[in-house]
Amino acid sequence: MSATSYAECSARQRLALLLDAGSFEEWLPPAMRVMSPHLAQLSVPCAFDDGIAIGRARLGGHEIFVAAQEGEFMGGGVGEVHGAKLTGLLMRALRDKPAAVLLLAESGGVRLHEANAGLIAVSEVMRAVLDVRAAGIPVVSLIGGSNGCFGGMGIVARCTDRIVMSETGRLSMSGPEVIEASHGVEEFDSKDRALVWRTTGGKHRFAAGDCDELVDDDVQAFRNAAIAAISRADASRPVVLDALEFEHAMLSDRLETAALAA
């Protein structure tokens, strides 16, 4: 079978192809019209699902919860409803204890139209991710959409147990345009694609230890990696003091190494 590009798929196509066939049961589906109250006020067209599909499904036979962000709708921006759907999914995971929570992340971060409501939504998602991890339920992020995973969602992804990326995928805090706008083109030329990918791209993130698995831009490859990530003995990695200290040491090392390289 030929590869299906993960980057080229919509959020719903990814869900249909990545999960066990026909197993996805959606909560708050499009026909329920749980939409952004803010976009309508700004006279911007809404999406029936506010750019995210959530629900339960099976993955390699495991009962899991899953969320998929649609990067084409407002760059996957997290608005109030979008974030609440994600937080609600994670809180339900605390109650129902699925084998894992899978996050198909593709987002530019907070949806600026919704300002503080979006920022609060992202912080609630972060808190919920950490609660789910603390309960011993693994949370795994998949990043391979052409919009990357930036801003608040970049932090959310790094709050999860594991990250699977493709070379096409990008993961960072401030996006290229944001850095260029705030620090000037001399600091960071957002049109320099090679620069963008060698600072935020999947290969760079894998080499730096920020992502756990690098896969081809292929839905089946993401599926296999996701199954492997939730099946392993140490799938759940609750945030404990040792883990935090290890992370801090790794970041300090990186800062020194980067300073030497520069």
Binding site: P30, C46, F48
Partner: protein
């Protein structure tokens, strides 16, 4: 943003209960949601970011309705400046997803 609504009489009832969604609200694109609606009617509700294109919308919608003649159907559209050709393709995609498992 502009909201448009067309209620057209149809003679081919759609049996499906599960709603069908195709497309994404993105620049030059749109999403189409087809659900069960009022018997005998095909109701189109459109929210579009582009103002003042009502005449063209009506032509595209009537063209689609002439081909399918759906009844008992509600078609909801969120549009972000798609061209008429793209709108027609999305509508056809939604209609064929309906046809796939229900009619």
């Amino acid at each position: 943003m502009e909201t448009l609504r067309y209620e057209l009489r149809g003679s081919r009832p759609v049996k499906r209960v599960d709603p069908v969604l195709v497309g994404v609200v993105a620049s030059g694109n749109l999403e189409v949601l087809i659900e069960a609606g009022v018997p005998g009617l095909c109701v189109f509700q459109i929210e579009t970011s582009a103002r003042g294109f009502g005449t063209i919308w009506e032509a595209v919608i009537r063209d689609f309705h002439e081909r399918h003649d759906f009844a008992g159907t509600r078609v909801s559209i969120h549009d972000m400046g798609a061209t008429p050709a793209v709108v027609s393709l999305r509508l056809e995609q939604a209609a064929s997803s309906l046809a796939g498992d229900l009619r």
